[in-house]
Amino acid sequence: MDATIATVLMLDGIGNGAVYALLGMAIVLVFAVTRVILIPQGEFVAYSALTLAMLQLGKVPGTVWLALLLAGLALLRELWEGLRAGRPWARTGREIARLCAWPVAAAGVVGWAAAQALPLWLQALLTLALVSSLGPLVYRLAYQPLADASVLLLLIVSVGVHFALVGLSLIFFGPEGYRTPPFSDATLGSGAVTVSGQTLVVLGASVLLVVGLWLFFSRTLAGKALRATAIHRLGARLMGVSTEHAGRTAFAMAAFIGALSGLLIGPTMTVTYDSGFLIGLKGFVAAIFGGLASYPLAGAGALLVGLLDSFSSFWASAYKDAIVFAAIIPVLLLRSLTDRHVDDDE
């Protein structure tokens, strides 16, 4: 390996690492707020890349039907629970509107836009809007009824959600893989070292998102409410923060981050209906580096995973995933040895 290849691999690794960092942050966020380990996080990535690919081809993306299907299920669920609890119709109606308005509207617009040959950036925005709308629906259908369950149970439910979403992905997108066009064809630098515009887009978007999240959590009431829920669920509830609302917001943000990651990673790899799992798992690894609690450590872990990913795919591609996952064991060990704590009286 010479310096050129090393540089290429490194830039590649940093680009992938940035995406893993975003996913890791989403997983940390969802876990902190809802205690759900979001295995299906990767599915949002695949959905988003595939949705953009379909729009590029001028076809109506399967996500449109998926959003309508989930919205329909959520509607039935609300009706059923409303009837059983004897809630007033107006309230059930409001709940349904709150849940379904966004996905249905987004599905409608995307469905219309498919044939319009819109510019790439507009299609990307529509993709973001549509895929993000799936987050709250998934929370409502799968997790909200189990808000007080154990982490293990929620984890298994996550596996179930993952199965369901991958299956739906295959139904709506088919088995072929797609690659979306890059957002920038430019290359910077000279001679041996070149940086592709796409890598810069990835890094820029990641930085923007991190800053945005930071502002959201430190400056807005909604962000503070989420933080409060993460720190103490009951205390936040006593202060009038709705756990359900916090859960939905967290899932919307996770879906948004997943969708953005899908747009960023789409041009660098061929995405198929089931690509999400491994991508999400690597984000999960990054999150674990941060102990499912620290965003900066999750970010650092993600870069490490990205680098391991790209270097091991060069040296021993057959063992690539094995290396990435085996390499984290010492890190895990170190972490659990360093944060010793007495289980506190609670």
């Binding site: 189990l146 149970l153 298994i156 139904i171 085996a326 984290i328 064991i329 895990l332 007495v342 609670e346």
Partner: protein, 594 residues
């Protein structure tokens, strides 16, 4: 609701087993025999998970890798080396044991979320390793694995393998039930709620985590051995992460922690998967992904309806197990440690100091406790009383100062080591195993006075010792007047009773010094008087007691001396009368007049 009698339950189990073993002799379609063969194979793995995840609270996605180890070891031994399948089984078990011990050594020190991720990591790593090794046939695997033969009969068909598979599955289930109802089983059940209480009862928690891990791995390995010789070939795909997740799935769906849940969960998942493959295409005219979707959705719905798993629908209706005290009437009492001589210095705390960062929680506090003495530790909330308890019992290390117990320096020792010397305690917030009976919870205190191991428990060779342990637990329960609640799940007790149960548990450890954290909180007047009577009786027997208590009547009438702390500093020490008359104490409790 009328609950079925235990006898009816036993009859049901016997009938179920008889039917199970009659099936291969009956004209049952081959398809269902094959289904049941696979279910039996899965049950073995899931039983391991019941112990590891449900009982010990350690989530593992990596069980499929152990199945693979057992399968590959025997497949290689029989095809490449020409060994008999039984030698292959032994090889698989030895290999699995070695790998499990190494992995346990590395990963079981991890807490919380690290462990499941580590299991994913080594599950994947092992999968890719096997898939890339030349001598194991890479991703094509090994073919031509011979069938198992029993007494000259080769188990070549699904029907003959069936008997062996189910014999082993049932044996594994029985052994697991025996284990859960034993000394090591109680120690494992104590792991789930954190290690603090178990360590304070003298349980070597890491050792029991490793044991649970090894048992689960060996169960999986046996399943893998059966699998290899049943399928007559092996390849890496059934041992990947997907399957590891699916095993965990079965455990949770059936009811994680319930032995019966392993059977229900394995059957439900296997049958649901196959039936969906059968009738969904006919119904919807499509195939493939729809099964996955429906399977995922059904799983989510079932868990939303029964979060404790399917088998809990049955166990919920079963009567609680009753212990019969007559069973251990003849049991020889457990040996007791040499008690300290009256007046001997039992505990000596000198200038104990604890700082958390800049906060001095305990500020150079010193006091003594002598044999046959009750010392009260009082002070307003946040004075550092519970921190002092934690320092004396080794739960947290001292910043400076020293603690001596019966002439032996103990600060810096682990809490388990201090417990073994004869220091026992209760907790400010009750720590127990809520779904275990009161008697078993108390018997956990006698843990270090027994020696029975996992294997002896599984083979039921531990009954003589078990009777002695339960007899001791029963005696201590009687002593504090709770014998009538022995069979109640501990979680059902009122708070005051739970505190009394902790005292009985502490007594079971045969202590010379007991530290009681607010023993009278939540008790009614009569119960308080009874408790005071018991504590006075213990003192008369030469036991030393250090107690934190807010009920001043209780403290003033019971204790010989009182140590008062405020803001981590010792304010004064003296007889109850002296403390009561001390103006500084009044100021601490009631504030100062300005």
């Amino acid at each position: 609701m009328n609950t079925p009698s235990p006898k009816a339950g036993r009859v049901a189990v016997v009938v179920a087993i008889a039917v199970l073993f009659a099936l291969p002799a009956l004209p049952v379609p081959e398809f269902w025999i094959t289904q049941l063969d696979y279910i039996g194979l899965y049950v073995l793995v899931v039983l391991g998970l019941v112990l590891l995840t449900g009982v010990a609270g350690l989530t593992s996605f990596g069980q499929a890798a152990f199945v693979g180890l057992g399968a590959y070891a025997s497949a290689y031994a029989t095809t490449a080396l020409g060994w008999s399948p039984w030698a292959g089984l032994a090889a698989g078990l030895v290999l699995t044991l070695a790998v499990a011990l190494v992995l346990a050594g590395v990963t079981l020190r991890m807490s919380g979320h690290y462990l499941p991720l580590a299991t994913i990591a080594w599950g994947l790593a092992l999968f890719f390793l096997v898939g890339n090794l030349e001598f194991l046939g890479k991703f094509d695997g090994l073919q031509g694995v011979p069938p198992v033969s029993v007494g000259g009969l080769e188990l070549k068909t699904g029907r003959t393998s069936y008997v062996l598979i189910w014999l082993l599955a049932l044996a594994a289930a029985v052994a697991l039930r025996h284990l859960l109802d034993s000394r090591p089983g109680r120690a494992m059940r104590a792991l789930k709620g954190g290690v603090l209480m178990a360590e304070a009862m003298g349980v070597a928690t890491l050792r029991y985590k490793v044991l649970a891990f090894v048992v689960a791995a060996l169960y999986a390995s046996v399943s893998g051995w059966l699998f290899a010789h049943y399928q007559r070939s092996v390849n890496p795909s059934p041992f990947g992460l997907q399957m590891g997740i699916e095993y965990l799935f079965m455990a949770v769906l059936g009811g994680v922690g319930l032995v019966g849940g392993a059977f229900v969960g394995a059957a439900a998942v296997k049958i649901a998967e196959d039936q969906l493959q059968n009738w969904l295409p006919a119904l919807l005219n499509t195939s493939g992904p729809v099964e996955l979707v429906v399977f995922g959705m059904v799983l989510i719905l079932v868990l939303q309806v029964t979060p404790d798993g399917l088998w809990s629908l049955v166990t919920r209706r079963l009567p609680a197990r009753r212990h019969d005290p007559a069973a251990w009437q003849e049991a020889e009492p457990l040996p007791r440690a040499r008690p300290p001589a009256p007046g001997e210095l039992v505990l000596s705390v000198q200038a104990a100091r604890k700082q958390f960062g800049g906060l001095v929680a305990v500020n150079d506090v010193g006091f003594d406790v002598r044999a046959g003495e009750i010392v009260g530790l009082i002070g307003p909330n946040g004075a550092g009383k519970s921190t002092l308890f934690n320092l004396v019992t080794g739960v947290i290390p001292l910043t400076s100062g020293r603690v001596d117990y019966r002439g032996q320096r103990v600060d810096g020792k682990a809490s388990r080591a201090i417990a073994r010397l004869g220091v026992s305690r209760t907790f400010q917030h009750v720590r127990m195993i809520p779904d275990m009976s009161v008697l078993e919870n108390v018997a956990l205190g006698a843990h270090r006075r027994g020696a029975g191991g996992v294997l002896r428990a599984m083979l039921r060779l531990d009954r003589a010792e078990e009777r002695r342990l339960l007899a001791e637990a029963w005696r201590q329960l009687e002593r504090i007047g709770m014998a009538h609640l022995a069979d109640e799940p501990a979680g059902n007790l009122a708070l005051g009773q739970q505190r009394l149960m902790e005292i009985a548990r502490a007594l079971c450890t045969d202590p010379a010094l007991m530290l009681l954290d607010e023993p009278a909180a939540g008790l009614r007047l009569k119960e308080k008087q009874a408790l005071a009577g018991v504590l006075a009786q213990l003192r008369a027997e030469g036991m030393s007691l250090l107690l934190v208590e807010h009920d001043m009547d209780f403290v003033m009438t019971l204790t010989d001396r009182i140590v008062v702390v405020e803001f981590g500093t010792k304010l004064t020490e003296g007889t109850p009368q002296e403390v009561r008359d001390n103006p500084a104490v009044r100021a601490a409790y009631l504030g100062v007049e300005h």
